[in-house]
Every structure is written in structure tokens, then in C-alpha cells.
């Protein structure tokens, strides 16, 4: 590690080369991570914009802001953009791309050019999606159910399907790169049981990306063919079975939710030990539970189809399996809690997001068990109860994990500290805004308000107003980090190599790292989360 005076001008991956070509043709995993950061942030705001319009419409019981057909397009595109263009890439493509090589002591991912290709595929998919949205949009729901999507919808189903198909390949290539990298590029001494849990989480995520995504890819191909050529594969009036589409769609889309949550769990597993100054409790259990979630996650997909017409016997099987899949997630929650027990807790911004994650993910997960029970599901399926459930996991869980990770590793990525008090404030605003937005939706769903409806009975208005109010607060909470992260790039305190006193190879190199990550190739002779032997955090240097 350099002992000379650390200035912001030391050569690192950001200043090693300038110019647009050096970014658009980079094969440096860290620069590609930043390319992804910009792109997914852009799509996050697009998806958020649709959410805003939805919540505005739902302020009043009448359908008075937009027409019904437009409303269908709003919730469809909100879902598609958020799922495929924000949540699925978010942590893996930004934090994973940046950190996986660093955490295992490698110079780059196994296939740097494929990494760049994966970003370009994402951009192509994004352009297709934007064009689709600007020229009429899609109104089928993000789930594309047939035969509406194949035979009746008058919107741009084919273009949206193709966009998602291409984005799927981006996802597959990222997963492929991570698996090969983790298997083949670990530094000497970095055995499997010394890997950070963030790596285990991304390994498990990559398995799902590799094995699940191709199924939705081929399904979308069939939908496009069916719509274009008027086939009958999914159309009951032509001998087809709409449930076949649903089986193929959910075979991927259920594991997809684990693509969205496992990386966030990996982030939490890094943050909690650091800000408890304690070794993680139950390393093996957390590592194995990630793999278990990846595998079990493929066994439960038809719980999205309980009332669609599947046989009662298969519904029973899938219900039981859905209970089983909750167990490894619960294991993680217990282990994080046990890590904090008798730890020395610092309520830093990342830790606040981690706390938020643990609480909100638990609520979302438990409500998933309600939905897994057949009797309850008959009552609450396709209501706001389901919407609240998955937003607790996706937003209260995954997005908070993403924000926590962005704050935790921001010093490493940018070489600057963000303003801590603003960070904590934003975290609190996000937490309050989130709960005000989505908790009322559990009640609304239980009381019977259906999802995807643009008008509702007047007795539901109060709860809807609360939800919309919450969403504006949440929006403020999301805008704040954008502002102060940008601010910090110019005015933030210069970050030392390890501002948090955290364990892990990424903290043993400079902030920001040099292009090839380490001055000397590291050799690992210490266990992960070795917090008894790690000194207290350095003070961030004043500078800039």
C-alpha cells in the first residue's frame, strides 16, 4: 500500500484515461460498473415516473387522470422497466461488476469483453424499450399473459418482448462471467470458505441467471411468433393452453425475484459485521442458504398460478415447496441478528439501510407465507396485498440493499466520502416514505381492492391517499443520494483506503483502485470477517 501522501491525483481507474472512447470501449470491470450505474439510474427514474403517475391516478376513486387503457400501460411499463431494467441488473451489474474481482483478488473478470458486450446488450434492449414506450407502449401487465398479449392487445407487445429478450442475454452473460471468475480467478489462499458472503450471494444469483433466463427468452420468442403468425400455442380458441405460457413464464420469473434479492442479502452480510465490529455469525449457514435459495427458488413457480386453473394436487405441492423456500431466508435473518448481538453497533448510513432491509424484508417474506397458503391466497391474490408483499421485498429489501451497498462502497468507487448526516437523513426519509406508501396497501388488499384497477370504491380512498403521500416522501428520499453523491465527487472528503475499517480484499487497495486493482497480486492468509484483528476505522481525510 502506498505510504506517500495520498492525493486525489494518484493514478487510478478513473483518471488513467480520459475521453468518451476510453469509456465506451473500456474492458475494465470498474468502468463498466459505472456505465451500468448511469444506465440503471436512468431507468430507475423512468420506472419511478410511471409509479408517480399511477399513484396520482389513485388519489381519487374515479378514473380521472388518465384513461383506463393508458392506466394499463402505466402499470405494465412500470413493472417491466423496474424489473428488467433496474432491479435485475442493479446490484450485480453495478456493485457485483465493480467488486467481484476486487474481493477475490483478481485483476478483472474472466471475460472482460463479454462484460462490455453485456452492457451494450442492455443498452440496445433499453433503446428498444424506450422506443416501444414512446410509440404507444404495452398494456398487458409485465406478466404478458396470453391470449391477451398474443391475440387481443393492440399495443407494441412484440417490441417489448424483444427488448426483454435482449436484456435477458445481458443478464445471462453477467452471470456466466461471475461463475467463471469465482471458480478460476481467486487469488492464492482465497479458498471457498474465505470468500466474502457477497461473493457467495452473487454466485448463487448467477446460477439463477444462467439456468432461468433462457426459459423466459424462448417463451418470449414463442409469444412473438404466436402474435406475428397467429399460431395457437397459447390460445385456447386455437387448441392452445394459456397456462402453458404461465408455467414457462413463471419458471423464470419466480427465480428472478431471487436474482433481485440475493445480491442485496450479500450486501447486508458485508455491512452488518463491519458496523457491529464482529465476525459474521454462521458463515457456512449463510453461504449455503444462498445456494439453497437459488435451487429451491426453482421449485415454487406455480404459486403464482394457484387460481389460474392448475390442478389442486400440483397447487398443494407448490404451496408446500413455497413454505420450504422461506427457510433459508429466515436462516439469514437469524444469523444477521445474532451477528449484531453483543456487537459494537455504529448507526452509519449503510447500517441504517441494512437495518431497514432486515425489518422490511422480514415483513415482506412473512406476507409471502400468507400468500403461499392456498386458502388465504384465494382471497388476496390479484389484490393490493400481493403488491404490498412484493414491494416490501423489492423496494424495502432489494432497493435498500442497493442503496446501503452504494453508500458502503462509494468511497472505494469514487475516492470520496459522501456527507454522512445527509446520508442518514435520506435513509430515514426512505424508510418512512416506504412504509407510508406500502403498508396501507396490505390493508387495501385484504379489504379487497384489486390490483391493476384504475378506479376503486370510495371507501378505499383514505388508504390510497396515504399511500400516494408516502410515495412523494419516498421520491425525496431517492433524490437526495443522487444529489449528494454527485456533490461528493467534487467536494467530498478524500476517502482513505479503508474508511470503515472493514474486512475484505477490496479495502486493502486504494480508493479508488488502480486499473489493475492491486499494486501487488494479493495472497490471502486470513479468514473472512476477521474483525478481531482489524483496526478501527480511519478518519476520512479532509481535502479536496
Amino acid at each position: 500500500m502506498a505510504t506517500a501522501a495520498i492525493t486525489a491525483e494518484r493514478e487510478n481507474y478513473l483518471n488513467q484515461e480520459y475521453g468518451i472512447k476510453s469509456w465506451l470501449l473500456t474492458v475494465d470491470h470498474k468502468r463498466i460498473a459505472l456505465l451500468y450505474l448511469l444506465s440503471i439510474t436512468f431507468f430507475f427514474f423512468i420506472g419511478g415516473f410511471f409509479a408517480l403517475l399511477i399513484r396520482l391516478e389513485l388519489l381519487t376513486p374515479a378514473g380521472d387522470l388518465v384513461q383506463a387503457d393508458t392506466y394499463n400501460k402505466l402499470f405494465t411499463m412500470h413493472g417491466q422497466v423496474m424489473v428488467f431494467f433496474f432491479l435485475i441488473p442493479s446490484i450485480p451489474a453495478v456493485l457485483g461488476n465493480f467488486l467481484v474481482p476486487l474481493m477475490i483478488g483478481a485483476k478483472d473478470l474472466a471475460f472482460p469483453r463479454i462484460n462490455l458486450l453485456s452492457w451494450y446488450l442492455y443498452i440496445i434492449a433499453g433503446i428498444l424499450m424506450l422506443h416501444c414506450m414512446l410509440t404507444g407502449g404495452v398494456d398487458t401487465g409485465w406478466t404478458f399473459y396470453t391470449p391477451f398479449s398474443t391475440a387481443f392487445s393492440n399495443t407494441k407487445v412484440i417490441e417489448a418482448g424483444l427488448a426483454i429478450f435482449v436484456s435477458g442475454f445481458s443478464s445471462i452473460l453477467t452471470g456466466l462471467n461471475f461463475v467463471v471468475t469465482i471458480h478460476r480467478m481467486r487469488a492464492p489462499g482465497m479458498t471457498w470458505d474465505r470468500l466474502p458472503l457477497f461473493i457467495w450471494a452473487h454466485y448463487a444469483t448467477s446460477i439463477i441467471q444462467l439456468l432461468g433466463t433462457p426459459v423466459i427468452a424462448v417463451t418470449l420468442v414463442l409469444v412473438v411468433l404466436e402474435r406475428a403468425l397467429h399460431l395457437g400455442i397459447f390460445d385456447p380458441t386455437r387448441g392452445g393452453d394459456p397456462l402453458l405460457f404461465q408455467h414457462l413464464f413463471w419458471f423464470y420469473s419466480h427465480p428472478a425475484v431471487y436474482i433481485m434479492i440475493l445480491p442485496a442479502m450479500g450486501v447486508v452480510s458485508e455491512i452488518v459485521p463491519c458496523f457491529s465490529r464482529k465476525r459474521i455469525f454462521g458463515y457456512n449457514f449463510i453461504a449455503m442458504s444462498s445456494i439453497a435459495i437459488a435451487v429451491f427458488g426453482f421449485l415454487v413457480w406455480a404459486h403464482h398460478m394457484f387460481v389460474a386453473g392448475i390442478s389442486l394436487y400440483s397447487a398443494l405441492i407448490f404451496s408446500m415447496l413455497s413454505y420450504l423456500v422461506a427457510v433459508p431466508s429466515a436462516v439469514k435473518v437469524f444469523n444477521w441478528t445474532a451477528t449484531m448481538h453483543k456487537g459494537s453497533i455504529t448507526f452509519s448510513t449503510p447500517m441504517l439501510y441494512a437495518f431497514g432491509f432486515i425489518g422490511l424484508f422480514t415483513m415482506g417474506g412473512l406476507t409471502g407465507l400468507f400468500l403461499a397458503a392456498l386458502g388465504i391466497d384465494v382471497h388476496v391474490t390479484d389484490t393490493y396485498f400481493v403488491i404490498a408483499h412484493f414491494h416490501y421485498i423489492m423496494v424495502g429489501g432489494a432497493v435498500m440493499g442497493y442503496l446501503g451497498g452504494m453508500h458502503f462502497w462509494w468511497p472505494k468507487i469514487s475516492g470520496r466520502m459522501y456527507p454522512e448526516s445527509l446520508g442518514r437523513l435520506a435513509a430515514l426519509i426512505v424508510f418512512l416514505g416506504f412504509n407510508l406508501t406500502f403498508f396501507p396497501q396490505f390493508i387495501l388488499g385484504y379489504l379487497g381492492m384489486p390490483r391493476r384497477y384504475w378506479q376503486y370504491p370510495p371507501e378505499f380512498q383514505v388508504l390510497n391517499v396515504l399511500s400516494t403521500a408516502g410515495s412523494t416522501i419516498l421520491a425525496v428520499g431517492y433524490l437526495l443520494p443522487m444529489v449528494y453523491f454527485l456533490w461528493s465527487m467534487r467536494y467530498g472528503k478524500i476517502a482513505p483506503a479503508n474508511p470503515w475499517g472493514a474486512s475484505g480484499l477490496e479495502w486493502k487497495t486504494t480508493s479508488p483502485p488502480p486499473t489493475f486493482n492491486f499494486e501487488e497480486p494479493p495472497v490471502v492468509d486470513f479468514e473472512a470477517y476477521d474483525y478481531e484483528h482489524i483496526p478501527a476505522p480511519q478518519e476520512a481525510r479532509v481535502g479536496g
Binding site: 439456468l211 426459459v215 419458471f251 406455480a302 392448475i310 390442478s311 400440483s314 407448490f318
Partner: protein, 95 residues
């Protein structure tokens, strides 16, 4: 891949076996075995696939066990897709 070099004799033997099995598959299709026609066809196809995977694709000689893990995992997940979907279709009439 390993440095193991498969002998010409092995490769040609596999090739001949594959051609013979192809002929057998086509021929057996004309013989009435009832429902077993499908079983026989798939068993023969699987034998052919195994020969291609193990010999032509070197899996038998691979020193690295990850290759076998990947192949078996892919097949396992494919069986999950087919099997659990079939569980629905096979039991619909019973409900």
C-alpha cells in the same frame, strides 16, 4: 479441457456406433412395440447423446469436475421444468 488425446480408433468407433444407432432408431419406429416405441427411441437418443458428451466432448476425460457438475445441473433443472409442469397437466383431470 485436459490434454488427453482421444485415439482415432475411439473416435471412429463412436462415430460408427452413432450411425448404427441412428439406423436402428429409424428402423424400430416401424415395428409395433405399443407405448414402448417412444421409450426405445428416447433411450437410444440418450445413448447417442451420452457418447457425444462423454467422448466427443471429452467429459469422460475431463480432469476438472466442474464440467460434470455443470452438465448434471443443466439436466437436473431441465427435468424440474418438465417434471413439475407435467405434475400439473397429469393431475388436472383428477381435481
Amino acid at each position: 479441457m485436459s490434454e488427453h488425446i482421444v485415439s482415432l480408433k475411439t473416435n471412429v468407433s463412436v462415430w460408427l456406433a452413432l450411425l448404427v444407432l441412428t439406423g436402428v432408431t429409424a428402423g424400430v419406429a416401424f415395428i409395433d412395440l405399443g407405448p414402448f416405441n417412444t421409450v426405445v427411441a428416447l433411450v437410444i437418443a440418450t445413448c447417442k447423446a451420452l457418447m457425444v458428451v462423454l467422448i466427443f466432448m471429452h467429459v469422460k476425460y475431463a480432469s476438472d469436475k466442474m464440467v460434470k457438475v455443470v452438465v448434471i445441473s443443466a439436466l437436473f433443472f431441465l427435468m424440474l421444468l418438465l417434471g413439475l409442469s407435467l405434475a400439473d397437466y397429469a393431475t388436472r383431470m383428477l381435481s
